[in-house]
Amino acid sequence: MAPEWLRIFWSYNVSKAGVILLAFTVLASVYVLTSYPPDFGVRVWNNPGYWADYPKEAPPAWVNLLTAERAPEHIVAVSNTPSSTYTSGSKILTIYELPIFYDFKDYPSFLSLSVGPIEFYQSPPIIEVSVTRPDGQTVTLYTAPVSSIFPGEEPPFKRFTETPLRIYLSGEGEVIQSVQRFLSNSGVRISYEDLVKIGPESIIFQAIGDDALTGNVLRGTYILRAVFQLSSPDDKISWVKAVVGGRVYGLSGTDRVGRDLAAGLLFGFPVALLIGLVTSSLTTVIGSSLGILSGYHGGRLDELIQRIADILNNIPLLPLLIFFTFIFKPSIWLIVLILVAFGWSGLTIVVRSIVLQVKSEQYVEAAVSLGTSSWRIMSRHIFPRIAPFIFAQMIFSTPSAILAEAALSFLGLGDPSLPSWGQILDYSFRSGGVNIGLWWWIIPPGLLIVLTGLTFVLLSLGMEPVVSPRLRRLR
């Protein structure tokens, strides 16, 4: 049989909505805690190199469901095994083929090729990148040795073990020249500067008519080919990856650096919960114990606690938060510390006034006359009476901590090692994302802040009739 208070709490729709939202938030946090690396903020989120192969400022992929013509999606093709190997004299040719089916109206945003760890024994492998188009024409894009040997180095030579070799085909001068040559073979002349401006990928993926560009995408299967010329049979290539940059990406799009916003938004859940719950529970513990002490003990101690609480209660929080995080290095613990240090006073004042009432009740007087110790009276007789109220206050104060952290982050004073929703919005505002209407960069993070705040407001609305029975029959 559920306890009475739980039954009352559950009888309101706001409580149910709050519990469902809370469950969702907790699930998302658990997912992040179990699947994200602990140094996600430093090593992944704030590391531009990690996001190089992502489209920049791309809206979410599901916008394609709402539009008639599908925008190019992000295509990644990886191959771990060569499709064929030839030997000619002392040279060995290892060929990796990456088929890419391209069926969109627009050109891709970029083209890049990455090569994983390489091991070689004599001279560095030479890579040749080419693409075979659906119309049968083949364009050789790029040729270069993948690495070099340092003087005094002994084989085997290992390269790209930490970060793969990344060839940004869209920006390579050699690729642009190759494409220019390819065009002139088809009778189209275009200057190098113009080609840099429109990007070589928009020619590679374009149908070419008689002596002219058509302006239309050539749809079909492209085969991107990476040929490695090895000098020893023991040389090893681990994998080859081709990226055809889309114009839409993932569940939530990307930002200016190409960061997958869905990853950052998910990471915001545990951060918000951490700040909200740690702050509100510490504030509540300190505030209520000082309030009980102040109300029950009375005298000088009461006077002292109440004076301090009164002073703290009159301090504007946000300016001081800004001041402290500005002077010290912004860190999540500093923010929590300040929120707690300045936040306990309101609760202390209220708890004290309730304790003053409870103290004069008969059961407390009975306990006193039995010679019960003060500590026992406070913890066993007074605390249980006001516990529901304190618990409701704790839930009610949670959103304010989350909002405070978000506000600080928005002002650029967030903890850089823990990306939060406020920080995502800070960057979108600072880089002018609002003025050019990048809605997927602005609406979701704010909506999540509101939803998380609302979760706790709804829960405390549901708690209210439990705590103050006067309101019970009104709803």
Binding site: I311, N314, I315, P319, L320, P399, I442, G453, L461, R475
Partner: protein, 348 residues
């Protein structure tokens, strides 16, 4: 206790708060070495000017260096850099109390002065107008909605209002601002993206006024959206609680007409606690205004705060932290007076 005495006690305790905040700010600045850094920056700035000046007259490099060194030690002494930070404390506190806030390194006023007091004097009125307009509008709307909900407590209207006010409570002002810009400026093109004047500003007085109103609409609307929910909910709760008082039952038992009971026995006694809540409204909106101004590039103190943070202008950040505390406390004091006048019971 007399009215004067009550107010005097409040004034003293608020003054203690103000002084406490100031002391804390100055102590943190001194102990972390930030204060030394600001002062040396001033000294270096002035030395740069002096060096250019001296280089015209003194040709010998060695002589120039020694002359500069002398200037440096004189300047350092005049700023108190030759003494440890705790000995400078009294002077620093005195400076701030007399609103001698120093100079900004990066930001100047619209008239070109880099005195912090000048910069702030220009921006302060804008902020005050923004916040008061928003608080007045939200108070009027919020109270009307809240009292209406209290009269029909438990109705569908009441429930919807409760939900809407909790959403309003959870809305961060700055995100609401961003959303408004996205909708009303970017997609609909109805309002400007920010600022207070068009460029170039219109010439006629009337055109100028409408231009300012046009620019201020979104910031005010943002603040109202965020504050109004709290107002509605608090007014509702207070009126419901008053309606349960014994004197209301007595009035009913006497057979007084219901709307008279409402006006004289419920709404009138609810007024003081509602007014107290202006305190919280103002405190909430001061924080909210910092961010709202930032979002709308509104030339008030909040935007200045943001600019000071992003350009690492320590002097300005400190001055603004102090001034925000001062404004907050002053507005609280004014409201205490209002409260005492409205509720005679406080004087007993």
């Amino acid at each position: 206790m007399s009215l004067g005495r009550v107010l005097a006690i409040r004034a003293v305790s608020l003054a203690v708060v103000l002084f406490g905040v100031l002391l804390m700010v100055v102590l943190v600045l001194g102990a972390t070495g930030v204060s030394d850094r600001i002062l040396s920056a001033y000294v270096n700035d002035q030395l740069r000017v002096i060096r250019q000046d001296l280089a015209q007259r003194i040709r010998d490099p060695g002589e120039l260096e020694s002359a500069l060194e002398q200037y440096r030690s004189e300047l350092a002494a005049s700023y108190g850099l030759d003494r440890p930070w705790y000995q400078r404390l009294p002077q620093m506190i005195l400076n701030v109390l007399t609103l001698d806030l120093g100079y900004s390194r990066t930001i100047t006023s619209f008239t070109g002065s880099s005195r912090i007091a000048d910069i702030i004097a220009e921006r302060l009125p804008n902020s005050i107008i923004l916040v008061t307009t928003a608080v007045i509008i939200s108070a009027l709307i919020g109270m009307a909605l809240g009292v209406r909900a209290a009269v029909r407590a438990g109705s569908r209207y009441d429930r919807i209002l409760s939900l809407l006010s909790s959403i309003s409570f959870a809305l961060p002002s700055w995100w609401t601002g961003l959303l408004f810009i996205l909708i009303f400026s970017f997609y609909l093109g109805l309002f400007p993206f920010g600022g207070l004047y068009s460029a170039p500003p219109p010439t006629g007085t009337l055109e100028r006024l409408t231009d300012i109103l046009w620019h201020a609409t979104l910031p005010v609307a943002t603040l109202v959206t965020v504050i109004v929910g709290g107002w509605a909910y608090i007014s509702r709760t207070i009126v419901i609680n008053t309606a349960k008082e014994d004197f209301v039952n007595v009035a009913r038992a006497k057979g007084l007409p219901e709307n008279l009971i409402m006006r004289r026995y419920i709404i009138r006694p609810s007024a003081p606690p509602i007014v107290t809540n202006i305190v919280f409204a103002i405190s909430g909106s001061i924080g909210g205004a910092i961010l709202t101004e930032t979002v709308f590039n509104f030339p008030g103190m909040g935007r200045l705060y943001y600019e000071a943070i992003t350009s690492f202008d320590e002097g300005l950040v400190i001055a603004l932290t102090y001034l925000y505390t001062l404004i907050y406390i002053a507005s609280r004091f004014i409201l205490e007076i209002l409260y005492v006048i409205l509720d005679p019971r406080v004087r007993l």
